[in-house]
Amino acid sequence: MRNGFSPKVLAPVILMLIFGSSCIKDKCTRTYTYLQPVYRTTDEVRANIKSNAPVEIQRTGKIYLKDQFIFMNEPDKGIHIIDNGDPYTPKNVAFIDIPGNIDLAVKGNILYADSYTDLVAIDISNPLQVKLKNVTEGVFPHRQYWGGFVADTGRVITTWEARDTVVVADCGTEGVFGILGRKDMLLVNGCANCSNDWSFALNSSNSPGSQAGIGGSMARFTLVNNNLYTVSHSSLSVFNVTNAEEPLFKKDISIGWDIETIYPFKDKLFIGSMSGMYIFNISNPDEPVQTGTFTHVRSCDPVVADDNYAYVTLRNGSMCNGFVNQLDVVDVKNVAAPFLLKSYPFTNPHGLSKDGNLLLICDGKDGLKINDVSNPNDIKLLSRVEMSETFDVIAWRGLALVVATDGLYQYEYSDPSAPKLISKITF
């Protein structure tokens, strides 16, 4: 060969490129973070259920309004206490460490909160010096971890440490022309993630009562007079709190699957599930009786109600598997036979709150929408407030407390067509 272009020279190079096995093998890596539980003893955890120094709010949780204080849950960690004496300048004043906490409700000076499978009662007469009064153990047995993780039952998980990991991954290229190849790998890898050590709370507050505070529509705890009602994934639990410091578990009522929220109105409980809304009569507070059911397509559905109508937001989402995003107005004048009055399209409606003829709806990325519902057959949008993704709202005496992904907003809506932002606590 001329000019050094000799097969004898090039052949080894070509052969190395072609047959060097490492050169013709796919190389794929998976980089992920897994969570490692950090345990403490039960005694240590209970000793720490007190007013600790305020901590930065990191994740959006359930909210509860009691007098001048906002109690906001930091999922699985505890409750932030925010002094809202001056709504223009709310102050994050304390944090109660409650591992495994998702939900809360307040009666008088007692705050009820879940801590994994336990119900704790905390004296909040002085929010800066709260005291643990009682622990009712094992009343929320349905709490479980995502992906089959089994925790050490002798201790309590207080937090999770994130650890970054890089591992060799299956490239999913096996097969011919993609048959038995990549699509199968996607499925496998998707499920592989489920086995991470996620703490997933299946249970978890809400409404005006004589001494109660006000909860959001996403609540799973609610207080009516001397009873605390909580919903799990499949049941309604009744606690008698006549002696507020010592809640007495009365009974569990099996309802159905995929229960999400609970909302009280007078002598009724409206319970939202992914497939419908259940109405319970609580004339006998210790013995709720199911009086009616309204069935809808599968979706997530917080609910609020008044004497005549229930307002149910339906949304899609990865957990809910639904495909509708709308507000259903359900006629509940006859609680034994509720029926759909009318549906209104929304973007991705979450929590909602009713104040007189105003219905405030958190419409996901569309922000907060204030609607005139004086005529449920012809609901009119009065205003829309743009903000980051909104989850839940409490409307109370012209003040809307809105939980969004990036903060806790307060809007004054005396003029509902032009709500005014008065403060924001940024997460």
């Binding site: 013709i24 998702i102 190849g181 703490s199 709370a201």
Partner: protein, 197 residues
């Protein structure tokens, strides 16, 4: 990185040798000619077999061709490589051979169904480097037309990012979004068959 540099070195060496060869064989060939290479691509390695399509268009001068190519590549994760193509023809007896080198960017264009209900709620993919080096054989017919057969070594890189949230149930009831990243480097043998005009 060392491997990439090695491959680039081999490519540069190859083009240099071929260019010298071409100059010697066709000293009078000084005309700029447009060519279009349109090829089907079989991609194979020890793990799988898949296909691709490519079209390369450019100009040749004195046996050296330079052009821009684009195509579809279904190996692993579907993508669309866009690349600079350099090739050099040379003759061995009456046979017409060429060596080629491609380097460019592999544009991510996933065709698989992504996002598993309940698990993956965010998905993002990114492209990466693409290169292909090899040798080929031209079978001329009807003027400047030719059937093209080539074999080479092809690499494409991609990144996928998944965001997982077990649910979008309500605030506080689901763990925060969790992300994971997949870095892919697909290293294949490439057999191309096509037509040049």
């Amino acid at each position: 990185m060392q491997k990439k540099l090695f491959v680039l070195f081999i490519a540069a060496f190859f083009v240099q040798v071929c260019s010298a060869q071409q100059q010697k064989d066709n000293p009078g060939n000084k005309k700029i000619v447009f060519h279009s290479f349109n090829m089907m691509n079989l991609l194979y390695n020890t793990q799988g077999l898949n296909a691709g399509l490519q079209s390369v268009n450019g100009f040749s001068f004195s046996g050296t061709f330079a052009g821009i190519g684009a195509g579809m590549d279904w190996y692993g994760i579907r993508s669309a490589p866009v690349f600079f193509d350099l090739r050099q023809e040379f003759k061995l007896g009456r046979a017409r051979f060429f060596g080629y080198g491609n380097i460019g960017y592999n544009i991510s264009w996933p065709g698989n169904s992504v996002g598993q209900p309940g698990f993956s709620s965010e998905y993002k993919s990114e492209g990466g480097i693409y290169y292909d080096l090899g040798f080929g054989y031209l079978i001329p017919f009807n003027g400047k037309n030719a059937m093209v057969i080539s074999g080479g070594y092809s690499v494409k890189e991609m990144v996928e990012k998944y965001g997982f949230s077990p649910c979008s149930f309500s605030p506080g009831q689901c763990p925060a979004m969790q992300y994971e990243r997949y870095d892919y480097r697909f290293q294949r043998l490439s057999l191309k068959i096509g037509w040049r005009f």
